[in-house]
Amino acid sequence: MSPKLRPYQFYDTAVSICATCFRRVDAKIVFQDGAVWMLKRCRDHGARRVLIADDIDYYKRAREIFVKTPEQVARYNTPVRYGCPYDCGVCPDHEQHGCTLLIEVTDACNLRCPTCYAMSGPERQNHRSLGQIEAMLDLAVRNEGEPSIVQISGGEPTIHPRFFEIMDAARRRPIQHLMVNTNGIRIANEPGFAERLKEYEPNLEVYLQFDSFRAKALKVLRGADARRTHERALETLNALNVATTLVVTVRRGVNDDELGEIIEFARTQTCVRGVTFQPVQAAGRLDEYAGGFDLERDRLTLTEVRRRVLEQSDLFAPEDILPVPCHADSVAMAYALKLDGEFVPLTGLIDPEVLVEGGRNTIAYEKESAVQAKLFDLFSTHHSPGTQTGAMNDFLAAMPASGSLSELSYANIFRILIVQFIDAHSFDLRSIRKSCVHIVHPDGKRAIPFDTYNMLYRDDLEHTLLAEIRREREPTKLNGPISARVHVDG
């Protein structure tokens, strides 16, 4: 008789939440059919199998190799009471500070995108007051000291009636890099607007929505054909050379075949410093999906986006697109140097064995460990672009025959970033604790991971769904993290 075998390889147990009721459930991580799956079962809503990654080796490498000592926020915002993810704030059990802090200055938007995780739209005219926004900025500074990246977001932040006063308020604070997350409509349509934005340089970046070259895909993602807006906004930003990142919301079957084309386009734009790909998070307007959000049809994982980038563009090889150690599950990054129109993938310059095999390669390790440290340094997203160049210079100085590259600036960097936000389907407590993109709560008292904010904390969710879950849970008396005594600033 042949032995009874599982149809998969068992890798780990996990704590997840049910995608229907958001209660914590037991889960396991398994490898099957060339992919990483989460199997979980809710007492009330049954069993689910969720695709976590379509690349087992990349997934394992991110979890096992790209491990780094977590950096903490200066002050925790909330105590540990109900257990993760019901205490977000940042609480003392969180394992990463905020690499990027979002300040949502308004819920209003001049678009009403079917994919919006924030459910913004023209019907929501509640702009936050300047006083409230200042309190939110203060929280960012209190948590981070000198926040690496603060992103003014929304809604559409540029339609806030006091937008430039908000920018001034941000600039008065010790923020290393200020980003404006925008659909580009105001930049495209209002003469002089981009010129005013440019006055906030250096350390300013436009985070420009740019999903597709096709009207049909834009209609699906944005509810409008934004091509003319893209064109005019980029024309203006190029003319002024305002540092810009193209942000691509990627949805399976809609625009996931255009990633290579977008990278090629980005390379030709003077102002563009990189492209950020964000697969849609199952949050917000899920009812806008035909027949509801469909796991198989609509979800796209980080490794699937990475695979498409590699298939559709020849700029980067697999060894160039690496996990970012601060949140290795959710963020992947590749750098290239832009020199006289030539693009040199930076990560391709070092022996990939050093990165991947690390300590195992005993001969090279001694010699190369300094290089490895530099690279980890470089790959931390908490480096704002100003210090990125410094880290890159240090890194290149450690390389042989690179002396001529010592005079680099941010304009020489081209960066591909893949950011996958965790949703209720893919929720893995191990990973959620490393979330490093935080949304500052409008109460000005908390910074909540992007991932859990959209699941449990946005708008009324905290008072309805989350309140109900909290009522069921026994609050812990131990106010602190599991393993250490830490001061909590409530």
Partner: protein, 262 residues
């Protein structure tokens, strides 16, 4: 002549004594490097992969289980193909893994049949490498990827290694990195990338050295006689290892893409 070398070479690996010398690792780097090669060639769950010179199908089975793809193996040895089919059945992989007897220089497949073609540690043993690469190019779909792992020759092979043994260890027919690159370009590939993984080769020779030492000691003799006039001795293996360590020879992963409009 060419057919004689091909069958001799394929037959060489079927010898129990050779299997004993190599252990389960029929090419440098073993399954770790196979996975890396498949990664470089972007093998995914939806891929249909051809493994040229697949042997008994170790890699084909690994790719099917680890990458979830469908794999077809082709090999010049009918016995190997028969064995590969049996092993795939035993592993309950017959639905995803298939094997066909055939010649790398005349692949028995229609043009554009595969997303990925891999060829591990075998290209340089083919008498006509250029024709084999053209065949791999033909059976790939436009935009499909090629992944080669093979011995890289940086210096001329010493005279004492210039025999069938050298060929069987894939040393004599190997090219330099630039040589492979040129061959891939001539066959119509673009986006060519090379990854130096030479440590896999010296690890493998060290392993053979240990195993040969064990076999030699067990049988109380200095050298192991193989058919075709090949003999393995400690001094010959040591000579091969010196050549590897001096970087006269190395190992590399080479990948390329068939143009998307081709």
């Amino acid at each position: 002549m060419d057919n004689r070398v091909k069958s001799c070479c394929a037959g060489f690996y079927e010898l129990p004594i050779v299997a004993e010398l190599l252990g389960n690792e029929l090419h440098p780097g073993g399954s770790v490097l196979t996975r890396k090669l498949a990664g470089a060639a972007l093998v995914g769950r939806d891929s249909v992969v051809l493994d040229v010179a697949c042997g008994c199908g170790e890699s084909a089975r690994l790719l099917a289980t680890h990458f979830g793809c469908r794999t077809v193996g082709v090999d010049y040895s009918k016995d190997k193909i028969a064995r590969a089919i049996t092993l795939a059945e035993e592993a309950s992989l017959s639905e995803r893994v298939g094997f066909v007897h055939g010649d790398a220089e005349r692949l028995p497949f229609d043009a554009g049949s595969f997303d990925v073609v891999i060829c591990e540690c075998s290209l340089c043993t083919f008498p006509n490498l250029a024709v084999a690469l053209e065949e791999m190019h033909r059976v790939l779909r436009p935009g499909g990827r090629l992944g080669i792992s093979d011995v890289v020759l940086n210096e001329a092979v010493p005279a004492t290694l210039q025999d069938v043994f050298g060929r069987a260890l894939c040393i004599s027919g190997a090219l330099s990195i630039d040589g492979y690159r040129d061959e891939l370009v001539s066959a119509g590939f673009s986006a060519i990338r090379c990854l130096d993984v030479s440590s896999a080769l010296s690890d493998m020779v060290a392993k053979i050295e240990r195993r040969a030492g064990m076999i030699g000691n067990l049988l109380d003799r200095e050298q192991i006689e193989l058919p075709e006039g090949v003999c393995v001795s400690r001094s010959r293996i040591a000579e091969a290892q010196r050549f590897v360590k001096a970087r006269g020879v190395g190992y590399a992963l080479i990948s390329g893409r068939k143009p998307r409009d081709g």
